[in-house]
Subunit: 440 residues, 2 copies
């Protein structure tokens, strides 16, 4: 085989980058489990009719068929493009076996056939949390989800050096109630155009609302004025009130969003902002919506998002409402790792290399290695009996911090310090036991 | 959506089963990393020409294409059917960035379009370890791989209650050298037929060797006599010698296999046997081969296997030999979980449910939960303010062992014991912190 080339849109890490990814996934998993979310994995393929339910997105589906299927046989399965559609199917399929509210997390790859470009991939990893109710789901879960998310992001920041985040939150009831209060019928159409606020600016949105939806200048300006409101506390409520629009749905949205922002600001200060232009496009959210940017990397767009949906799924008898949030793991990590913003102290898990003087002494080296492993120290035995210089170079090339010699001495190859040690008792410094990830 | 049905060949766990799978995967990962294997993940799709290199298997490939690709556009990618072909491609693609011997593990799903049946899946998880050299790879790695594998299986057995294993090992040099010593040219053809020993019995193999390959009765009987040799120590060497065949390749195979069996029997007693009929069919192994059965579940066939290959990959200039081993994670776990042979103490990670007296008291309950989580205790807050009986039932249905009351007391709902406790100091018994997996 000649040397293969990477395929655009399908990022793969070298071993060092993969260690960073594993550490990030471990932190997400730990955060989720600490909050009582249990893992599920679903098959990567779903029947096409399950995947195409959402309309718009079906052009991006990858279909799957057996290479030697009969000519002309219909494609029946496709790769999932998110983890929400498979969750809905899983909940319906196993409805009687799940306990509600069902708190699940799911960390899997998803596939989208869109044109690969910076920050957009055809294969990428997502980490989702959702809380699913049977018939009803209390509003306090809308507050819980961003707290879990912000706590996880805070650990990614402090433990790995991933940039801090700013979460932008809104509530569709608020926007919809406001539009209704203005006498607008097709509130979804307004929402879609307001969603372009950041891209095209307020004046262009006013033009769209007037030109495409026939709103008056005054009403269009009111919609844009609402979208322009941001606050890191509940002060947005007064600013909305000041616009003079009234509706019950607006009141409900304002109250839910104020509770969310106040609670989150107290728990994780400085990481959340009410941002009334957040609409989440054509997605199926019906209440709270979340978007999240990495501070200093706003150009990457939202790297984690989610929201409340009144009906994740329904089997005709029972409806399952939910609230969820999805971390774009690949979307966050690939740019940071590729640009060298994150680094790891070594490219292997190994903490100690046990040197081998001669092939005859290999069993002794293996025995030493087993003693170290028995106490949780990742250890390799040198693959070749060689002089010490070569063995140290072997360790150095991989970033392995310690070399153990048959003399019963262990050398820290970074400092050069060499000390007598007992394989049944010696421990490396805690910080050296596993590779260290941090800002480069 | 009406209630969807499971699709045959695509097993999915309920949350409790998934906890068992996660625990097994954690043990594998820990075992691999303790031995200095680093993780990689490769994209799930490979170009079809990469996948079809191995001939036979191409009929089982799933091809992937965009739903709205042009009519008649060629399928260009397929889902990987193992983790060895992607490893070979990854090594060639990143050859200059890897340090050799390259020790990697890879835990991913793979897909095969074969007819689903008991123990055969279309989507299943494998956990592979391989050691890849550049040009050369020392023979002692053939001994190292089964030691890592047996250590991992031993932990799966003692920590999770998965049945113990018996690993059957052979060496292609031994068989090939023996056949050559008998004057046979097409040794691969003999190997293929001897591979049917267990299925059709020794007499039928003799018939095949005579009828299809034209061997004499005497020579055919010699081949079958070799295949019939098994020993849990190096005594197989004398039994092979007693058959009176000689060749250098045979000597080399005998020596390698004797070293392997002797070392492994000393390290993990009773778990390995030299079994000279093991051939691994049409696979591309060139030396040591491994197969592994669960004791008491031999009918499931080999659930983990591997071997030595002189050339995993070559770019024309450099050849990469390797030795590897693959755990059939789904193949092992799905039957054991489905048949109820393994069980878990709860279906959620949650250790403590913090009860909520009234919605007004929810913030206090959340604060208590945060104190417990800060010390690593997975905690949920009751989703609904309710009387205590209902909250205990909520915990009980999920197997959550402890309920925390606003009175500052914590109840073990299994024993009924209720004690005053401080959320900043109380710890559950170590054994209750995470769900317990064991034989049912």
């Amino acid at each position: 085989m000649s040397r293969p080339k990477p395929i655009s849109g399908y990022p793969e890490f070298l071993p060092a980058g993969r260690i960073i990814e594993q550490r990030a996934l471990d932190i997400l998993r730990e955060s989720f489990e600490l909050h009582g979310f249990g893992s599920i994995e679903t098959r990567v393929m779903e029947p096409l009719d399950v995947l195409s339910r959402k309309g718009e997105i079906d052009k991006e589906i990858f279909t799957v068929r057996r290479l030697h299927a009969e000519e002309g046989a219909a494609d029946e399965m496709g790769l999932h493009f998110d983890l929400t559609v498979p969750l809905a199917r899983y909940v319906l399929e196993n409805a009687g076996h799940l306990a509600y509210p069902f708190r699940r997390y799911q960390i899997q790859k998803v596939w989208r056939g869109e044109r690969p470009q910076e920050g957009r991939y055809r294969e990428f990893c997502q980490a989702d949390i959702d809380i699913i109710g049977s018939e009803t789901l209390a509003a306090h879960h809308d507050v819980e989800i961003p707290l879990v998310a912000l706590e996880a992001f805070e650990r990614l920041h402090t433990e790995l050096g991933i940039p801090p985040v700013l979460m932008h939150v809104n509530n569709r009831k608020l926007s919809q109630g406001f539009y209704e209060g203005l006498g607008i019928d097709d509130t979804a159409a307004v929402l879609q155009r307001v969603d372009k606020f950041d891209k095209i600016g307020p004046d262009a949105v006013v033009d769209l609302l007037k030109g495409e939806l026939g709103l008056t200048e005054t009403v269009a300006r009111q919609c844009v004025a609402l979208a322009d409101i941001q606050s890191a506390d509940a002060s947005f409520v007064d600013r909305v009130r000041a616009l003079g629009v009234r509706s019950d749905l607006l009141d409900q949205g304002l109250e839910e969003l104020a509770t969310l922002v106040t609670t989150a600001a107290a728990a994780v200060p400085g990481r959340i902002v009410a941002d009334l232009k957040i609409a989440r496009g054509l997605d199926y959210y019906t209440g709270t919506v979340y978007e999240t940017e990495l501070v200093g990397y706003e150009k990457m767009g939202s790297v984690a998002s989610g929201g409340r949906y009144d009906s994740l799924a329904s089997d005709g008898k029972t409806t399952y409402p939910g609230v969820g949030y999805s971390f774009g793991v690949t979307r966050i990590l690939v740019p940071l790792v590729t640009k060298g913003k994150l680094a790891v102290s070594r490219s292997v898990p190994t903490c100690v290399l046990v040197a081998v003087d001669s092939e005859e002494a290999r069993p002794e080296a293996i025995a030493t290695a087993q003693k170290l492993r028995a106490r949780g120290i990742p250890t390799e035995v040198a693959p070749k009996a060689d002089r010490f210089g070569k063995q140290i170079r072997y360790a150095d090339r991989r970033g392995i911090p310690f070399v153990w010699f048959s003399s019963g001495e262990v050398k820290d190859i970074r400092s050069g310090d060499q000390l007598a040690a007992d394989a049944d008792a010696w421990m490396p410094p805690e910080a050296d036991l596993t590779p260290n990830v941090g800002p480069a």
